[in-house]
């Protein structure tokens, strides 16, 4: 039995989510191999070989993989898939694009967003926005899986001694092409990997107030910044800030929800945080039902006081 982890990377290094997927693969048991499909991605492959528990890295290095397009990535996975019983990808925008294509090409079911490995065939995954956990068993000979990063501790990025083997890259299938990207630039920690998150909702009232009120708090705590769907829909912040069922799933040590009422779709994305603080002027807001510490008050007064007190 051997597991293949589809690495998410930026060619030069591994994305943090890849380390969580490697842990899930280790939990399944058997050898853990990592596929790096990229362009000039030797550094990412070398980094993958250093990860504790990884015995081999397959490097498919080609211009076809320069923009990590899912059509080419899935074809690459299928080209090397024969040796593996489990194929795992992170449940990120990248992994969600690639893994179902792989599953369909192999005529296998996919098990999405697993949060626990029960045994090599059986996994636990959330359904209904995390309001229920389903234990599912696969009858397929190959399991294609996406992994919820927050549910598995990251594998140690060093201490491993895997080998790097170059594999033949697939040709560009020509179905899609990259046009442009607008990546949000931030000096802050990545939302899904942050220890502390300061998150704002509709209660902030505008993008300007979101920034004016929450940035000093996030600066003081070296926190990542997130938002509810309402705040993103209203245009306060870009889409990549969204925490929730259909946005990012986070589980920091401390999640501070400011002006967020707490719709079930939002709770689905943050209720596994270790400590939740809610600041809201409505004492009946559902967010207080999951918050360890609730403070009822006007956020425009309370948050500056909190910044001053820290």
């Amino acid at each position: 039995m051997a597991n293949l982890v589809i690495a998410e990377h930026d060619h030069g290094s591994l994305k943090a989510a890849t380390l969580n997927v490697i842990s899930a693969a280790i939990a399944i048991g058997g050898d853990v191999h990592v596929l790096v499909a990229g362009h000039n991605a030797g550094a990412a492959a070398a980094a993958a070989a250093q990860v504790a528990g990884v015995s081999k890295v397959l490097l498919a290095d080609s211009e076809a993989h320069a923009h990590l397009l899912p059509e080419n990535a899935a074809a690459q996975v299928v080209a090397v898939a024969a040796a593996y019983s489990h194929i795992l990808a992170p449940a990120t925008a990248y992994g969600k694009g690639v893994a179902p294509r792989v599953a369909a090409l192999l005529d296998k079911a996919q098990i999405s967003d697993i949060i626990k490995v029960v045994d090599a065939d059986t996994f636990v995954r959330p359904i209904y926005a995390g309001n229920a956990y389903a234990t599912v068993k696969s009858a397929d000979s190959v399991k294609v899986i996406t992994v919820r990063g927050t549910a598995f501790a990251a594998a140690a990025p060093s201490g491993g001694s895997g080998t790097v083997e170059t594999v033949t890259s697939v040709a560009d299938c020509g179905l899609s092409s990259f046009v442009s990207a607008e990546i949000t630039k931030s000096e802050r920690p990545e939302l899904t990997a942050a220890k502390i998150i300061v998150s704002g909702g509709r209660g902030l009232g505008s993008g300007e107030k979101y920034r004016d009120v929450l940035t000093p708090l996030a600066d003081k705590l070296n926190a990542a910044m997130g938002a509810s769907r309402a705040a993103v829909d209203a245009g306060f912040v870009p889409n990549d800030y969204q925490v929730g069922q259909t946005g990012k799933i986070v589980a920091p040590d401390l999640y501070i929800a400011v002006g967020i009422s707490g719709a079930i779709q939002h709770l689905a994305g943050m209720k596994d945080s270790k400590v939740i603080v809610a600041i809201n002027k409505d004492p009946d807001a559902p967010i207080f039902g999951v918050a360890d510490y609730g403070l009822v008050g006007d956020l425009f007064e309370v948050v500056p006081q909190l910044v001053a007190a820290l």
Partner: protein, 249 residues
């Protein structure tokens, strides 16, 4: 060009589902069912493309129990021209649905299939990508903006770090994210009109598709309950709790 829009009937997004006491699933008897919100966005986008004369016909398709006809009527009230139901009582998993949809694509020959990125019941996020793979088509998932010109769709996608724009050759698959559009309300005259639109019904066997489930749900559990905590009086008390009790700052 034709656009095919698969739509799914799901538990309404305002309903908080409960796990059955015997742990065999969630209780969906007597709860409100609606069209999956992402599918609604897909229907709206397809109808807008027809209104802009990019598309000539919008076909809604659903797979599942007989009540999915209501979901199709709903799609037709938003503006889909006709509907197709693949009727079955078997539990349909994403791979089976992708195969059924491929059979419909083979029949109808649409140039574009627009789907919701995920259904809010099983949260699988698979069907569109699987259908793209089965057809050998390109895909643009999590779309926040779609422009079709000639044989190319230029799609802006919501990705983890921000947004990305890709160009996909038609025929192709697009899956919708939340901010692609705001679906219109179906007006009463349009709801009445939808009742008269064509709705064809097939069985999976008519399409020669094996829909047997590959995954068995062994049990369904309540997630661990989070204890609601305490309300603190002021900022000083909050800081004290965070420093000395929770020890997170």
């Amino acid at each position: 060009m034709k656009i095919l829009v698969p739509v799914k009937r799901v538990v309404d997004y305002n309903v908080k589902v409960r796990v059955k006491p015997d742990n065999t699933g969630v209780d969906i008897a007597n709860v409100k069912m609606s069209m999956n919100p992402f599918c609604e966005i897909a229907v709206e986008e397809a109808v807008r493309l027809r209104e802009k004369s990019v598309a000539t016909e919008v076909i809604a398709v659903s797979a599942g129990v007989v009540q999915c006809q209501e979901t199709l009527r709903n799609a037709m009230a938003i503006g889909a021209d006709r509907g197709i139901l693949i009727e079955t009582d078997v539990e349909l998993q994403p791979l089976a649905i992708a195969k059924l949809l491929k059979a419909i694509v083979d029949k109808e020959q649409p140039r574009l299939v627009i789907l919701g990125k995920q259904a809010i019941d099983d949260d699988a996020n698979q069907t569109g990508q699987m259908l793209a793979a089965l057809l050998g088509w390109g895909q643009a998932t999590f779309a926040s903006k779609v422009e079709v010109a000639g044989d190319v769709a230029t799609v802006t996608r919501e990705i983890d770090g921000g947004a990305e724009t890709v160009a996909i050759k038609l025929p192709a698959i697009i899956t919708t994210d939340l901010r692609l559009n705001e679906p219109r309300y179906a007006t009463l005259p349009n709801i009445m009109k939808a009742k008269k639109k064509q709705l064809d019904i097939f069985k999976p066997a008519d399409l020669a598709v094996d829909v047997a489930p590959r995954l068995t749900t062994l049990r369904v559990d309540e997630p661990p309950k989070r204890q609601g905590g305490v309300k603190v009086a002021d900022v000083a008390a909050l800081v004290d709790k965070l420093k000395n009790e929770a020890k997170v700052i």
